[in-house]
């Protein structure tokens, strides 16, 4: 045992306790050693060990202890090792835990910022808005100081990434809440033949039965046996239904599900559930009472005391005042008496009231309305309930306040597939709640297609005093340190809607998101407005998530595709610098892009172009499709020929480009840009399926079916000749812009075409993917004496810029219509129809669009950064540089860019403003090509 207090506050065994006294666990709190038991929460172990204070409050840094002893307890957020914001009244104790208070300065016992409460009026509602807005130049200084006051724990920069996962669940019935009604509903639904997911936030099913008396424990044992007997019920504890969306798409966050994947335990899991019906059996949340000193350590809700005593055998105090308005408060007083705590009962039902609590780090006394002052270290309040209606709100309901039972109730605005069970629907004995749950469960199953509906017995609405605030002011929102006084002040300042007051005071906006505070906030607003009906104030709308979720759980495991070509291992062995290009990882260069350019221009180089989009088009109507997709003409493409084509969208904007070759009578291969592969496929399918279903065309995406490599340079023909069988490679037999099927390095069913993106004699070879690496290596083996080398994307980009070949998306944007991209030569407006034709017809009739031009800086050593503006006069922007590089071939800088039409004439000198503000001159060249404009090098 670690200390005398540990033995002193731990009770003798309790009937419903969940701790295992045979398994002691050592842990540290605030640097000191403590001991608890398996089954303890961090807080129950600390309470049993004599600790009262777990945190300092958000704004005033007041000491805070246990309030609700649940996940949502605002004063019990701690740091555990690397993990910030752990809910210590919920999280199970584990051996060796290093638990510390969050954001205390310098220590939990003495926090200098607590002086804030002495100057509390400065931190009243809207304080930050009013104080730190001006002057704006001081904001960075304010920010530094305020940072010290912010709530929250710390994450070490080198903390290991958590491992998260997602799960998809399809069930007939999802039950949110595993109290008596929820358990009964699950059993009934399962008996009707439905598959059921039963979710509860706590570690065990049972709800309030768990910390009840003998009768409750007996009923719970029976219910647990019934649930266990139903094979079609999946029980998920320590999990919460955090959102309900259209068509019962339900988000469940499962904490520490106890699952490991490849040795890493999953920290949290987001389950995406599609349920035929949702049973909302979320129950009631005990509501705090608003009075002076209501946040002192030692002021607790009756359910908190009963949890600590009956589940964890922790004595919450030695001398108690119990302020009760209901049977649960009475039962709590009995529990306390049973464990030997002296109790003074103040009964609200007979007019008793409490006025204020006094104390420092622990409660010392309570002033009663009758004038008495009672010394005590524990004040229990049992003043009523907040209906846990968030899931109903999310399903479209707007619950209505009923003053008789003093809580909100659902209306009939719910969809048929969302049904309410248990205390949300009314009050009843355990047996009545179970009967209600049973009927609702059968009904839910019926609405999910199993069995038939049964009449649901009505639950009574038992009268309960409306108790929200005493005659003094106290905290409404413990997590945000918002008091009833702040809310009255907000009313005085003219904030008269609850939604505005919420945002102004931040009431209900803390981590517990209104679960404890919401109804008190509404009641105090009503009081400030002098109205008695809470419905006149309305409520703030509950939105998902119901409970906090880690960002890791929302992100889940990464499922992004990463694509590699079959030649990736070769690239890695040859020190390729990886370039992320959409899903693909490509070699950017193998060390020196300029040297790679020289290699291609002088000898021969090979680039991996596998990511090029490739579509296999078959059928007699392919030319019709090509004529529709491309702006140019395709009817006369001969077998063995290849043509360059540009696609525009229906608004005339350049969408994609590439070459298409005709391999046989009814077979074509279309290539697209790497990033456009999926889009072009969908685009082709949309024309075929929604406009021309009568056309006989079949489109198959074969991008990853072929490994593609471009062999370029004056010695490419010689190299290709050494590995290709059965094709006459002479320029006459296999000229530029033609395609041949061939056997390459022993691999049949390859095809290759002569095209010229780099501007050199080149052969683009497409090889069945499984043989990609083989052919690639065969080319290097065959060409070693020719000086063959690999080149990457950067060298290709330089060479295409030397040639003035534009890249869709780089040298065009979402406003570039066909004629603007210098494509007039291939846009055939005399075709009957093609995508985007009407817009291109209109564009052809006007002049006022920017033109893509080749640009050369007058100072050839300057490479203007891409996206540099082209300007006229002091302020007018008249264009921009879209691509720029230093050309190793021409030994000067070269660009493509857009300019206004009056600047597009060759020879015009335009002004370009660099990012550093300097202005340089660029000269518009003839055409787009900086190098070999006639294309002599590639047509040899």
């Amino acid at each position: 045992m670690s200390s005398a207090a540990a033995t002193g506050r731990r009770l003798d065994p309790q009937a419903g306790e969940v701790i295992d006294r045979g398994s002691p666990l050592s842990f540290r709190w605030d640097g000191k050693a403590h001991t608890g038991f398996e089954g303890d929460t961090i807080v129950s172990a600390l309470m049993a060990s004599g600790v009262d204070v777990f945190s300092r409050s958000f704004k005033y840094k007041r000491p805070r202890g246990v309030l609700s002893a649940t996940f949502h307890d605002p004063g019990c957020t701690v740091q555990v090792g690397d993990e910030p914001n752990v809910r210590a009244a919920h999280r199970r104790l584990a051996a060796g835990m290093d638990v510390s208070p969050e954001n205390v300065w310098p220590s939990l016992k003495f926090d200098v910022r607590a002086a804030n409460q002495l100057v509390g009026r400065f931190l009243s509602a809207g304080f930050y808005y009013k104080t730190f807005m001006k002057p704006q130049r001081l904001w960075p200084a304010y920010q530094k100081i305020l940072g010290r006051f912010a709530a929250g724990g710390v994450t070490a920069a080198d903390a290991e990434h958590g491992y998260y996962d997602k799960r998809y669940i399809h069930v007939d019935v999802c039950v949110a809440g595993g109290g008596p009604a929820g358990m009964a509903a699950a059993v009934a639904a399962a008996r009707s033949g439905a598959s059921v997911l039963l979710v509860d936030e706590e570690y065990h099913l049972g709800g309030h039965l768990r910390y009840g008396g003998e009768a409750e424990l007996a009923a719970l044992a029976e219910l647990r046996a019934e649930v266990a007997a139903q094979k079609s019920i999946e029980v998920m504890t320590n999990a919460a239904v955090t959102g309900r969306y259209d068509m019962n798409w339900i988000a469940v966050v499962q904490r520490q599900p106890g699952i490991s994947v490849r040795g890493r335990s999953i920290h949290e899991r987001l389950c995406k559930v599609r349920a035929g019906a949702l049973v909302v059996a979320a129950g009631l949340i005990e509501r705090p009472y608003v009075f002076e000193g209501n946040d002192l350590p030692g002021v607790m809700l009756s359910t908190a005391v009963r949890r600590l005593v009956n589940l964890h055998a922790a004595r919450p105090g030695d001398k108690a005042v119990v302020f009760t308005a209901n049977a649960d408060g009475d039962a709590c007083a009995q529990d306390l008496r049973r464990i030997g705590v002296g109790v003074t009962v103040v009964d609200a039902r007979t007019g008793g009231n409490i006025v204020s609590a006094k104390g420092g780090k622990r409660l010392k006394s309570v002033d009663l309305a009758d004038g008495r002052s009672v010394d005590c270290d524990l004040l229990v309040t049992a003043v009523g309930w907040t209906a846990a209606t968030p899931l109903l709100n999310m399903a479209g309901d707007r619950p209505v306040y009923d003053p008789t039972p003093a809580r909100f109730f659902p209306t009939d605005r719910l969809p048929a597939t969302v049904v309410v069970a248990g205390a949300l629907a009314g009050d009843g004995s355990t047996a009545e709640l179970i009967a209600h749950g049973t009927a609702v469960g059968a009904t839910a199953a019926a609405r999910a297609g199993h069995g038939s509906e049964v009449p649901v017995p009505a639950l009574a609405r038992v009268a309960h005093p409306e108790l929200y605030r005493s005659t003094t002011h106290g905290f409404v929102d413990y997590s945000e340190d918002v008091s009833s006084k702040d809310m009255f002040a907000a009313k005085k300042e003219g904030y008269d809607s609850i939604e505005l007051v919420k945002r102004y005071t931040t009431v209900t906006m803390g981590p517990s998101q209104g679960k404890l505070e919401s109804v008190n906030a509404v009641a105090i607003m009503a009081e400030a407005h002098g109205v008695t009906d809470l419905n006149e104030i309305g409520t703030t709308v509950w939105r998902p998530p119901y409970v906090p979720i880690t960002l890791g759980a929302l992100g889940g495991r990464g499922f992004e595709n990463t694509r590699f070509s079959p030649m990736q291992s070769w690239h890695e062995q040859h020190n390729a610098k990886p370039l992320v290009a959409g899903d693909w990882i490509r070699p950017e260069h193998y060390g020196d892009a300029a040297a790679e350019v020289a290699k291609v221009r002088d000898k021969v180089g090979i680039i991996d172009v596998t990511p090029l989009g490739k579509l296999d088009l078959r059928g007699p109507d392919v030319p019709k499709l090509l004529n529709l997709l491309y702006v140019n003409k395709w009817s006369k493409l001969a077998i063995g020929a290849v043509r360059y084509g540009v696609m525009c969208a229906e608004d005339g904007v350049v969408m994609d480009d590439g070459v298409t070759g005709r391999l046989a009578e009814d077979r074509y291969i279309m290539t697209t840009t790497s990033s456009g592969a999926a889009t072009v496929w969908e685009w082709a399918e949309s024309w075929l399926q929604t406009e021309h279903p009568d056309w006989q065309v079949h489109v198959t995406p074969v991008t990853t079916g072929y490994a593609s490599m471009n062999v370029a340079g004056p010695k490419s023909r010689e190299l290709i000749g050494r590995v290709v069988e059965g094709v006459d490679l002479s320029n006459d037999a296999f000229p530029y812009m033609h395609v041949r099927t061939a056997t390459v390095a022993g691999v049949a069913d390859c095809f290759m075409w002569r095209i010229g993106f780099t501007g050199e004699l080149s052969y683009e070879i497409h090889v069945p993917a499984a043989y990609g690496l083989h052919v690639w290596e065969a080319l290097f083996d065959a060409g070693s004496d020719l000086g063959v080398g690999a080149f990457g994307v950067e060298a290709q980009r330089i060479m295409r810029l030397e040639k003035g070949h534009f890249i869709v998306g780089q040298d065009t944007d979402g406003l570039t219509l066909g004629f603007g991209a210098d494509l007039g030569w291939c846009i055939k407006l005399d075709k009957d129809d093609f995508a985007g034709k009407p817009e291109l017809v209109l564009q052809s009739q006007r002049e006022n669009y920017q033109r893509l031009v080749g640009l050369q800086p007058v100072d050839p050593t300057i490479v203007p950064a891409e996206a540099s503006q082209i300007v006229e006069g002091a302020k007018k922007i008249v264009g921009r540089v879209t691509s720029s590089r230093m050309s190793p071939t021409l030994r000067r800088s070269i660009c493509l860019g857009f300019v206004e039409p009056h600047l597009a004439t060759p020879g015009t000198v335009v002004t370009c403003q660099l990012p550093d503000g300097r202005r340089v001159q660029l000269k518009v060249i003839e055409g787009l090509a900086h190098f070999d404009p006639a294309g002599a090098r590639m047509k040899v």
Binding site: R274, S686, Q689, T690, E691, P693, P838
Partner: protein, 94 residues
């Protein structure tokens, strides 16, 4: 997330699909005016009512189809072949 009934695959989460938009018939490019064409390109009726939309089952059968969806409730009362395919069927049936 709503479920969309694909005529070929049955009800699937909407994230499997691309919502193409309200179904429209493409004007005849030979006779269309700029106003008609831009109406086709840019103007949506955007009704709070039943609308006919085109959806594409991107992560499934890769088929385009028509859906009648209520834009307020997200109820879907019918999903069927695209209009052009229905016309073609009628044509071949008669």
């Amino acid at each position: 997330m709503i479920q969309v009934p694909c005529p070929w695959c049955g009800p699937r989460n909407s994230m499997e699909f691309r919502a193409v938009g309200e179904s429209k018939s493409r004007p005849d490019v030979a006779t269309t005016t700029p106003e008609q064409w831009r109406q086709y390109l840019y103007t949506k009726s955007n009704l709070a009512d039943w609308v006919t939309e085109t959806w594409y089952h991107r992560a499934g059968c890769r088929r385009y189809f028509a859906v009648e969806r209520h834009t307020v409730t997200n109820d879907i009362r019918e999903s069927r072949l695209p209009a052009a395919q229905l016309r073609q069927k009628e044509g071949s049936g008669s």
